[in-house]
């Protein structure tokens, strides 16, 4: 199972022409899952100190989601990708908005976290399509 899990990732570096050359939308997704998990834990716990820590951790994870998505947008995706996927700019912009401040009216709202995960999956789908091309 492990081999299967990592297999497509290993291909990545071979086709890449940037200084580092390894990208993987899984990085953003893992952090977004943390956000979802934190929200679930807060829902079961009304200790104010726990809530403070949860908000702090969620804030850090949000920064990491945004960072990983920004890196994909700037360093991995190229003009031909933006031409082929005209929704890509908006998609990444909406995902980072969801991860960040704009998603915070519903701050600890599980639905927002699911929306974020869905956007990341859309980005990942495009990402893996560009890898196959």
């Amino acid at each position: 199972m492990l081999a299967r899990l990592f297999a497509p990732t290993l291909e990545v570096s071979a086709h890449c022409d940037l200084p580092c050359g390894v990208y993987d939308p899984a990085q953003a997704r893992i952090e977004a899952e943390s956000i979802k998990a934190v929200i679930a834990k807060v829902a079961d716990n009304d200790d104010p100190d726990f809530r403070t820590r949860a908000i702090l951790i969620k804030e850090q994870r949000s920064e990491l989601v945004k960072h990983h998505l920004w890196v994909l947008w700037t360093d991995y995706f190229k003009p031909p990708h933006f031409e082929k996927y005209p929704q890509l700019h908006t998609l990444v912009n909406e995902a980072t908005k969801l991860a960040g401040a704009s998603g915070t009216k519903g701050e600890l709202d599980a639905a927002k976290a699911d929306e974020l995960l869905a956007k990341i999956d859309e980005i990942a789908e495009i990402f893996w399509e560009t890898k196959k091309a």
Copy 2:
């Protein structure tokens, strides 16, 4: 033009509805000026240790330029801005590419730094127009 560019800074916070609410393209510009200054210094100095430090500092400044531009793109600019300025996604994407890895074939190339500064000024112009609106 620069004076005009920075003048409204103080107004900013009053009209903003985000958690922090203060944005300023000057943050990206100051870091980009550092990049330009570093490149100029390296051109006058062929000590290899100095060059190593210059590359290191330039790398950090590049990260900061990218970060400040990403924050504008995600946290400040909203869908109506992207509608009104259809070039905005591409503009920010190109600026961050210039600041980052994609600008590094011409790594310590002053022309690349000037291009980056010009892109940041284009973004700043849009930014200040949206402030006046």
Copy 3:
């Protein structure tokens, strides 16, 4: 005055002899404006989660204000500056104290933020005078 304050930014890099060579008190000021904006938002909002986030963001901005002022004090200002402006050490020390822990008894106190902004403007005035010299 603000316009005048920021106007020479572009000149900066030309006169500087340090590794990076670009300094600008605007960096500290923008972060201090964030602190002021955060305090204003908290005053209008009594959701405890929002308050937690506000304190967290304010804490980060305070660190950035301190960092930018420390960099000016250590890397930009030189012995002749400290001789010409004998109040400069105390001024920067008080500004960083206001930004940091010492300003926190009045933690989310708008008056403290205004005091901080005033100190930064005093530092900036000296900074721009040394640029003209």
Copy 4:
């Protein structure tokens, strides 16, 4: 394919009882693949500035590999895991040593990067076994 790729990760959060509760050895592996890719690129390129940047990026990736492995060792693995897998302490210690300073005599040595990847896969195998339990 995407669904298959992320599927086992999603289960993770459900069984976890820590504050954040989402762990994934893929985080360390992606950074270690970057190290391998950087080394490969340096082998094809003898520009000294490129080499400086490669070492800098490799150093940062090494820190991230170490950090992700340390987090697994401290936050995810529990006494029963260390009992069941008596090699686990040594395995994580060796992997972090390989990622860090101890792996640097052969600094840009592809064989060291492969060794590191193999150790991370061993840790990941144990990790996923503990998930199934």
Copy 5:
């Protein structure tokens, strides 16, 4: 008194063969003392904003304790140390667990901070023994 305080530290660098070569368990201890001090202050203060800041600062200090201990475990301690002190892996693992998430059920619990300090002292004792050897 100062000379006495720093004296043993100065020896350190002489015997070390790593890239940086200076280690000192005092780094972890100072941060752990901060944790203890923060907990004591919170016990005397029931302002919710102060409590939020205390949790935030404690969280950062915990990260630093963990980081300094991880660095000792990975970069300073070598296979012969782990052989001579078979409890060392578990000791460091428990100390980092206490500093981090696992110590947080008793989040602001002074007893946990004392336990952490005692573990760090055990590690330090081993550390200084290996220095004398």
Copy 6:
């Protein structure tokens, strides 16, 4: 020996009235010793990659020295200290200048590192005197 080493540090937190309340000039000193050790290692090693890494690590340690000294200057020292020790501002300013950019013309110069250590010891002496008072 360990007890003796840590004894004076433990007193610290008791007399302090700041949010965290634990300060120790040892933090700056340990990082400055790293700088000295790095310089010594570079003197024995002319591999350019090693030199690049050494510069990178030295740069990071310099930042940490500066940071720890800045924190003492802003958060620990109070107006009565600056009155009693009129040289204190200049002393800390010179120490941070030595740690940073201004000390880099003699970039990997052991004499500069010794000067930095001497300045830190002067600051530490004042620090411990204020503790006794």
